[in-house]
Amino acid sequence: MADSWSDFRRKAAIAGVGCTEFSKDSGKTEYHNALRAIQIAADDAGINVKDIDGIIYHNVDRVQEWQIADALGLKNIRFSFQSVQGAGGNCGAIGIAALALLAGKANYVVIYRTLNGRSQDRYGSARGSRYAESSAAWRAPFGLVVAAHMMAMRTRRYMLEFGAESRHFGAVSVAFRKHAAVNPEAFYYGKPITIEDHQSSPMIVDPLRRLDITPEYDAAGAVIVTTADRARHLRQPPAYIEGWAQATGSQIDPMTAANRERITVIEEVQYAAAEAYEAAGITPKDVQALQVYDHFTPMVIMAIEDMGFCAKGEGYQFVQDGGIEIGGKLPVNTHGGNLGEGYIHFMNHIREGVRQIRGTSPNQVPDCHVSMLMGGYGVTTSALVLGR
């Protein structure tokens, strides 16, 4: 019996990826967009959508697995499951898909996420809900109502503890917009920014400026996972699953971690990264390209620290002077991330992680054979290491 992931290393792979266009109004239902993304991913892999026999959908998605199966005309979904916490669970869902595939429970598993996040359901504004339950009950009555507020609270603490300033966060925004500027699929294609643009963008929730905060989009994304044996006979070079991990951290209280010992430490990232490195048999030094969730620029800095790329409190220096740009110490979000390409709960980050392995990124890292992904955090999160 296998008792460690290393027995499964490189035995499953991402064979296809697809995202719809990032827009402010897709003019389509989330259902429509999900099916389109799945079709793009299946075409990318070179399979027929009717080959899909496993589906993982998100616990925050309105479009459920049976709707996908019905519209694709699938007679039998042999494996279905749920990914957790939007952007947090995607990498873990791919790992779970690998386990199902290697146990013979499916041949082709699709993971998807669809959200009309601008025209329909804006995460950046609380829609005047009168009652707050669970963790929101302890913050919404005071006006702490959206993710930007929660992460601004952690950002302020980070500034107090380590001496970071707003302009330091701007380097993250500048780097990702630089990457997006040469990515034809990016919403901000051809639109780089300067640190001055960042510093003159309005303070939305002090200490976060507009250019620290991911914009909202309509989009859908999908990933096709299959066994390595099958993947080798498909259209694209396989992006092998070297390792993965899922983690929460203590007192996570999404997304505030208010009663964690240190709110500036993203414990779930520490745990997920450490376990994913071990599963893949690598160390941070081996990572050639990193796609990390970028809902807010200071959180990227904290995540880079907590993944072990630099010491705690040194991340805001690490990202300066092109440190996370292509050609820098650690190229991060080479597609532009949420801030530059688009936002669909990490599905486009996964697409980019796969592109780095295929050699087709708009900001290609030369000879990339270790591509790392760190999903959304502040909630249950997950990490993935892809190899060539």
């Binding site: 609380a126 809900s129 009950a137 302890w138 109502v145 952690r154 309005p202 929730v205 203590s250």
Partner: protein, 142 residues
């Protein structure tokens, strides 16, 4: 098509359940209580059924001294909720002397005058006929 707005300009209120009822009942009476494990005496917040330290279900509610210090804070400058349309406003994370950290608002202070570890004292505001909110004020400025 946009999801219809709830379009309420009313304050979001907590859904109170059996775990949190003693806390909000006390606030209604202008008292701040904190949940503590009756077994290992560890404080916890938000209220939950079990002690994260020793996993005991036995709990007690202890009246807080109401004193704490500002652990972190934000200043909202662009509104994200129809009720909280008056900007700027602050939200603070207060670390109580007893240990737990609570979100709240700091009254009677300009945003630029908030600082790390600023000593604060609890206060109570009857924001609705049947709902009281705990707030904080800088110590010595009640």
């Amino acid at each position: 098509m946009p999801i219809p707005e709830a379009a309420t300009a009313e304050r979001p209120l907590p859904i109170i359940d059996l775990d949190s009822e003693p806390f909000w009942d006390a606030v209604r009476n202008h008292t701040l209580v904190l949940q503590r494990c009756a077994n290992c005496k560890t404080y916890r917040h938000p209220p939950m059924p079990m002690c994260p330290n020793c996993n005991s279900f036995d709990q007690e509610w202890v009246e807080s001294a109401g004193r704490g210090k500002v652990h972190s804070w934000i200043v909202v400058r662009v509104p994200s909720h129809p009720f909280f349309g008056q900007v700027p406003y602050n939200v603070v994370l207060v670390e109580m002397e007893e240990g737990p950290r609570l979100f709240s608002n700091l009254l009677g202070v300009e945003p630029e005058d908030i600082y790390e570890n600023m000593p604060v004292q609890v206060d109570f505001v009857d924001v609705e006929d049947d709902f009281t909110l705990f707030q904080f004020r800088p110590v010595g400025r009640t």
